[in-house]
């Protein structure tokens, strides 16, 4: 008589290689045990996987058993099967995003006056990418929409919160200093930010 632990372990291996629903009577025959005993082993295994909250489960289909994935994990399987495509932002999108990040909440009009160019499309694109969102309405004429960055924006840059953004005042002083000496060391600035 084979120990129950061995039988259960063997059943797991068998389910795994079989793939399709495995008939209890076939499994029983291999160990020369009753169908009832084999069925109980499968049921015990099934309960164990559930109790332990495993990502694979054993399902019963008409006196057969089969391994399957835990239903709640389908989202992750989908992500695994559909690796995200990398996409880059255009220069203008980055610029608008930067203005919004630093001046938020900000209206489209303000952005346009800073950039001196229309940016309706760019803003639409950034909203669609969930990097910016409407955060309210300005008290000004026509009550224009105010834009701000989203949590997805923070996540993209690995910022904990908006305070994590590189200091804008620093940049301005650096810009001014640089204009005087006319030696702009961009690399240096970005390294400082990463360190901070």
């Amino acid at each position: 008589m084979t120990a129950k632990k061995t039988i259960k372990s063997a059943f797991e291996s068998m389910l795994f290689v079989w793939g399709e629903p495995l008939d209890v009577s076939i499994a029983a025959e291999i160990f020369n045990i009753s169908r009832k005993d084999a069925y109980d082993c499968f049921k015990e295994l099934q309960a164990e996987y559930e109790q332990e909250g495993r990502g694979i489960r054993i399902r019963e289909i008409d006196k057969t058993f089969q391994y399957c994935t835990y239903v709640e994990n389908s989202e992750y399987i989908e992500r695994l099967c559909n690796p995200a495509k990398e996409k880059r932002l255009s220069q203008s999108a980055l610029e608008v995003l930067a203005i919004i990040a630093y001046k938020q909440p900000v209206t489209r009009g303000e952005i346009e006056s800073i950039r001196g160019i229309k940016c309706e499309r760019v803003i639409e694109g950034l909203v669609k990418k969930d990097l910016i969102a409407e955060v309210g309405r300005s008290a000004g004429i026509g009550r224009p929409i105010l834009y701000g960055t989203t949590p997805a924006f923070l996540k993209n840059f690995g910022f904990k919160d908006l305070k994590d953004l590189p200091e804008i005042d620093d940049i301005e002083s650096i810009v001014c200093k640089n204009e005087e000496s006319d030696t702009l060391d961009l690399q240096q600035i970005s390294i400082d930010f990463i360190k901070s």
């Binding site: 099967c81 990398e86 800073i114 940049i171």
Partner: protein
């Protein structure tokens, strides 16, 4: 009937040699070279008798063994740190056998490992078409790029602010028409002419506000009757002449003069 079997029961001449040494229960470190060479040659001969292709490598080793055998008969002395030591012609052979032996053992370990692993099974990949969907696009934003762009933006913005600052400076100057009048007078002095074209009063790269203030100053001088202006046709040249402080202005400027 002839057997066309490759000599692959031994994995090469060293394999055969190792077999013979072990079979004769010899120490690898003290090979009885004469005996082992004879056995080796006897073995090759038997293979040939069975019409088995003996790879040339087996012959090469046979030759090497015979060479060692002959050297054993005439031991050579070698200088070793001032001491004369007997050179053992088997040394290199032993080293090679040992190295081969190492890998032969490793091959045996691999074989066991392979056998073990063949008892482990994997499952094929599931049909994942069910999960396939439009691939999500993600942004590859890095902080460096973001900062660079923002930096560029700030420079642009600063340039814009500089231009705006220039504008306001020009406006401040318009307040002082007097100084412009002085300037106009000095131009007449410097050029030493009685008559000047309006355009000659302007600096080569005058902006619109400069033109305006110059024009306003000219009007003021005409009001003060220190200057006379003449324009023959609409939009034509305005010819200016200074009154020699006599104060008798004769002509009013034409209306609608536009200098652009």
């Amino acid at each position: 009937m002839s057997y066309k079997i490759k000599l692959d029961i031994f994995e090469g001449p060293f394999d055969l040699l190792v077999y013979l040494i072990e079979n004769a229960r010899m120490s690898i470190y003290d090979i009885q070279i004469s005996e082992i060479t004879d056995q080796y040659l006897r073995y090759l001969k038997r293979m040939q008798a069975l019409d088995i292709n003996v790879a040339t490598e087996f012959m090469v080793l046979a030759a090497a063994l015979i060479e060692i055998k002959s050297k054993m008969l005439l031991p050579r002395m070698k200088q070793d740190g001032g001491v004369l030591a007997e050179e053992d012609p088997r040394t290199e052979l032993v080293q090679r056998i040992l190295e081969y032996k190492r890998f032969k053992t490793a091959a045996e370990l691999l074989e066991q490992q392979e056998e073990y692993n063949q008892r482990i099974f994997e499952k094929p990949k599931e049909d994942l078409t069910l999960f396939a969907s439009e691939a999500e696009e993600y942004l590859n934003l890095d902080l460096k790029q973001f900062v660079k762009v923002f930096h560029l933006f700030l420079r642009k913005k600063k340039n814009l602010e500089d231009i705006q600052r220039n504008y306001s400076r020009v406006e401040r100057r318009t307040v002082s028409v007097e100084s412009k009048i002085d300037h106009i007078k000095s131009v007449f002095r410097v050029k030493a002419k009685r008559r000047l074209n309006f355009k000659e009063l302007l600096a080569p790269q005058s902006n619109r506000s400069d033109v305006v203030i110059t024009f306003v100053s000219v009007l003021e001088m005409m009001r003060q009757k220190t200057m006379m202006a003449k324009q023959n046709v609409n939009f034509g040249e305005i010819i200016l002449s200074l009154n020699d402080n006599t104060g008798n202005g004769k002509k009013n400027p034409a209306e609608g003069d536009i200098v652009s």
